[in-house]
């Protein structure tokens, strides 16, 4: 018991932090809530370092302390801290400001459970915990758009969750256990394996916004405050991808799941970017772009168990994705939601404009930026696993991606006369952009410190 709890110290720290934050919110001290959150997240991140090299399970195999869950903490905890800064910049002074911070931390707790889950029950728990908080956050503005987005998100989430639980019951019936580690018993029982697989693809595919379960994402992101959209597009998505990896690496390859995932990946990347190409609302554009990016993650998933590059690929691209996507959303908070707001933006604000160029090129996968290193690992893993055709599709989509992101860049440097809106940028936002841009720029050069 004591040993088990020791390995969970980062999660426990986060849980305690979230509770204390709620207390501070009751006292109406939003600044204190924010500070507590940042301190708690930083502490939890540092505490993760002590258990990073562990490779074990706790509580009877239900919770995994391995490379994936360790790096999930190292990625998601700082990512959440950045999201807190973004939320502070956008929502400071508003009613219920502190609740947002504590909800963000609670969702991240659910995200960590997803990433570390070794058991179907924990998977369900993680999906529900991340879901409930997300619905509440999306409806935060209490206007029509947000309510509609929240409703869509909720209904979609409930159905997807129910389908997932139903499908998982097949696996439970087939193996007699809710542990992933028993999934090997499904070897040679294709129907049961397929039923559960479909369920997991629905449940987690919804969470990660994979095609065809992505419809909620653009509406939810657009209805929510930009900082919340940034958070949802990054933290819950990565948690779902990591959960995918935890489940599928125990499922026998003979059930044919890699091909199913590969097809989903191809559809997700292509549809995401094709739709993004015609958006004029930058938040929606980034929403579709993050749908497409989820497809890239799946290139690592299909190689699980075959290529030694698969897990590092998911982790490295996860880290890169957090930095570049949060950064891009942060710039949207300054510039505005419409593509027209970006006209001449790079000339008015050269430094922030340059940062946006870095984020967008990194999202495209241009070296030597961090996003390129992630995609390199992903492509390598997928080729290694024999999915050359999928990599070719991914590569064609990268060209499409450039077309998508260049639309913003071209607008940013177009010649526009008129009002120069150069109000000073709030400090939390500046800090968040500075951190994300440094990570995006520099981690390409220092990719050696990442897992192998």
């Amino acid at each position: 018991m004591g040993r088990d709890l020791f390995f969970l110290i980062p999660e426990l720290t986060l849980a305690v932090t979230a509770m204390v934050m709620l207390v501070a919110e009751m006292l109406r001290l939003p600044r204190l809530v924010l500070t507590l959150g940042l301190v708690g997240l930083t502490t939890a991140t540092l505490l993760t370092l002590s258990v990073l090299d562990a490779n074990t399970t706790v509580f009877g195999g239900t919770y995994r302390i391995d490379m994936l869950s360790g790096w999930a903490k190292l990625i998601l905890l700082p990512g959440t801290a950045l999201a807190l800064l973004l939320a502070r910049a956008e929502l400071a002074g508003q009613d219920r400001e502190g609740s947002v911070y504590s909800l963000l931390c609670l969702i991240t707790l659910g995200a960590l459970m997803l990433a570390g889950s070794g058991d179907m029950m924990l998977l369900v728990l993680g999906v529900v915990l991340t879901g409930l908080g997300s619905f509440a956050l999306v409806t935060f503005p209490r206007d029509d758009a947000a309510t509609e987005a929240g409703m869509k998100y909720l209904v979609f989430g409930s159905v997807a969750g129910a389908v997932m639980i139903y499908g998982l019951s097949f696996w439970f019936g087939g193996t007699g256990s809710t542990l992933y580690s028993e999934l090997g018993q499904l070897e040679g029982r294709p129907l049961i394996a397929a039923a559960g697989l479909v369920a997991v693809i629905v449940g987690l595919g919804y969470k990660a916004a994979l095609v065809p379960f992505h419809f909620w994402a653009p509406d939810a992101y657009d209805g929510a405050p930009v900082s919340i959209a940034a958070y949802l597009s990054v933290i819950t998505k990565i948690a779902a991808i990591f959960a995918f990896a935890q489940v599928l690496r125990d499922l026998p390859v003979s059930t044919g799941w890699p091909l199913a995932i590969a097809l989903v990946a191809a559809a997700t990347m292509t549809l995401g970017y094709v739709t993004a190409l015609v958006q004029t609302n930058v938040v929606r554009l980034l929403a579709f772009s993050s749908i497409a990016q989820a497809g890239y993650f799946l290139l690592g998933i299909v190689a699980l168990g075959v290529s030694p590059l698969a897990l590092p690929a998911i982790i490295v691209f996860g880290a890169a994705y957090v930095a570049m996507n949060l950064g891009a959303f942060a710039v949207v908070m300054i510039a505005g939601r419409s593509l027209d707001d970006f006209a001449g933006f790079g000339r008015r604000r050269p430094v922030i404009g340059l940062a946006m160029v870095v984020f967008l090129l990194s999202l495209t996968g241009i070296p030597p930026l961090f996003g390129f290193v992630g995609k390199l690992y992903l492509f390598g893993a997928a080729i290694d696993a024999g999915f050359l055709w999928l990599v070719v599709i991914a590569i064609l989509n990268s060209v499409l991606a450039l077309g998508v992101y260049l639309r913003i860049i071209v607008a940013m440097y177009s010649r526009v006369e008129g009002q120069a809106n150069t109000a000073p940028i709030s400090r939390p936002l500046a800090v968040a952009i500075a951190i994300t841009v440094i990570v995006t720029l520099a981690m390409g050069g220092f990719a050696g410190i990442l897992p192998s």
């Binding site: 590059l309 590092p312 090129l361 495209t364 241009i366 070296p367 030597p368 390129f372 290193v373 390199l376 690992y377 492509f379 390598g380 080729i383 290694d384 050359l388 990599v391 070719v392 590569i395 064609l396 990268s398 060209v399 450039l402 077309g403 260049l406 071209v410 440097y413 390409g444 050069g445 990719a447 050696g448 990442l450 897992p451 192998s452």
Partner: protein, 487 residues
């Protein structure tokens, strides 16, 4: 022992960073930094030259761990193939820095982009790690995109977009090939891939096709050359010079370094097809250039022609079994890269200088300019003669070797020599219409080249003549490597 290669590679971008951090400098100070940095880089490249090369391998190798988990390292080195290109790069960037010294529109950003392009170019040529090569290769695309989009002519946004999308689509297959080579060897070290080509059979052929796709776009070879005229016409002068003089060489360099050296068997099998593409490109480029009335477009299409000869030479080298002929062909190919950089660089500078004065590039708008602007006129005439392959000027020794080897190995391919006749015709026509004939009153007050412009153009002309009459210095260096190639 100083790591000269790394210093030369990163000095330009370091200068650019200083300019970015110390904003608000006067335009003069910015250009002084730009000229100073590119000048020192040029001197450094001379020092690297003095350091010498070794036969059958790379000299002055510098190595540093980068991503040990996947066997990628920072590795630089020089041999007889990339050292001439390094020298060409530093010369052209130095002269470009001098040429752009009058630029006032967002000068700091322009200079930073130019310096970034120099780092990317030097890095791409000297990289001995495939991943590092790819990084530099792509960074150059980004830099060139912004240079065209920011400082180009009327239709620059569309041209820049087309350039970026086209060449990104072109470079991604190379990434596939690199990953394929990596997965079968466990390292990104190009020396290992050259010494023991890791792929065989159908895998090697697929990798070769991917690489050919990439490099054909970059070179550019028919039928994937269509981005080039658009990009050149819209690009600012310095952009055109760098694009034609330096960045097109990534394609031919890659053709030799990657396609030929890393998948030699597949290359030999595909040799005839590649040769046919080279021959057709050379002819097509010449005829397409003949059809142009826009001077810049004409020069751009002659690039397709000249680069076609290089493709021919590399294919011939792969097809022959005689090591002597192979060396002759590859010597010619490498020298042609340098000559083309110098001569086409000069021509683009001159067309740019003419455009600065007249805001026109249409041949029909001019006439009899030689009388009023003898420096401009004679410089153009000399460069044009060099470009059409006149003996005694830079292209002759290169093309002579290429055709010599072609005649020995695949005599039918010699029909490409027709292109020289066409090129001669089109250059003579351009000279006649622009510089000779009846003087157009409109330009009677047009000033001749100023001091800055002479500083740009005279070194190029001197080098063109030097290579033409005494190519031995350069060829000896190239030959050291080419004669020891074993595949």
């Amino acid at each position: 022992m100083l790591p000269l290669l790394s210093i030369a590679t990163f000095l330009p971008i370091a200068g650019g960073l200083v300019l970015m951090l110390r904003r608000g400098q006067s335009t003069q100070a910015i250009h002084a930094v730009s000229i100073g940095v590119t000048g020192v880089t040029f001197l450094l490249s001379l020092a690297i030259w003095a350091g010498g090369i070794v036969p059958g391998g790379f000299a002055q190798v510098e190595e540093l761990a980068w991503i040990p988990a996947i066997g990628a390292s920072y590795r630089l080195g020089v041999d007889g193939l990339n050292l001439p290109l390094v020298l060409l790069t530093t010369v052209l960037f130095f002269l470009s820095a001098i040429y752009s010294a009058r630029l006032k529109d967002r000068a700091a950003t322009f200079v930073v982009l130019m310096l970034m392009l120099e780092t990317a170019s030097l890095g791409a040529f000297m990289a001995l790690d495939a991943l590092l090569f790819y990084v530099f290769f792509e960074v150059s695309l980004v830099g060139m995109y912004f240079m065209i989009a920011g400082w180009g002519h009327e239709d620059r946004q569309r041209a820049a977009l087309m350039f970026f999308l086209y060449t990104l689509l072109g470079s991604l297959p190379l990434l596939l090939a690199i990953l394929g080579l990596y997965l079968s060897s466990g390292t990104f070290d190009m020396r290992v891939w050259i010494d023991t080509p890791p792929l065989t059979g159908i895998a090697a052929m697929l990798a070769l096709i991917a690489m050919l796709f990439t490099f054909a776009i970059k070179i550019p070879s028919f039928p994937v050359h269509t981005w080039l005229p658009a990009a050149h016409v819209q690009a600012p002068t310095v952009g055109s010079v760098i694009l034609a003089g330096v960045m097109l060489k990534f394609g031919t360099y890659g053709l030799v370094r990657f396609a030929l050296q890393m998948t030699p068997e597949a290359f030999t099998k595909a040799g005839l097809v590649i040769l046919a593409f080279g021959v057709f490109s050379a002819l097509y480029g010449a005829f397409a250039a003949l059809a142009q009335s826009d001077l810049k477009k004409m020069v751009a299409y002659t690039s397709v022609n000249h680069m076609g000869y290089i493709v021919m030479a590399v294919a011939v080298a792969a097809l022959t079994v005689d090591p002597k002929m192979r060396a002759v062909a590859l010597d010619g190919a490498t020298l042609q890269m340098v000559s083309h950089g110098l001569v086409t660089g000069a021509l683009f500078f001159l067309v740019g200088m003419l455009y600065d004065r007249t805001h026109s590039r249409e041949m029909g708008d001019f006439g009899g300019l030689l009388g009023g602007a003898p420096w401009l006129g004679w410089a153009f005439i000399l460069s044009a003669f060099a470009s059409l392959g006149l003996p005694g000027l830079a292209h002759f020794p290169a093309e002579f070797q290429i055709f010599l080897a072609t005649l020995q190995v695949q005599p039918w391919a010699i029909i490409a020599i027709l292109a020289i006749v066409v090129t001669a015709g089109l250059y003579l026509r351009a000279i006649a219409r622009v510089f000779l004939g009846e003087a157009n009153e409109k330009w009677s007050a047009m000033p001749d080249l100023g001091r800055r412009e002479k500083w740009v153009i005279v070194p190029l002309l001197v080098l063109t003549i030097l290579i033409g009459i005494a190519p031995a210095t350069l060829i000896d260096m190239i030959h050291t490597t080419m004669a020891s190639l074993s595949f």
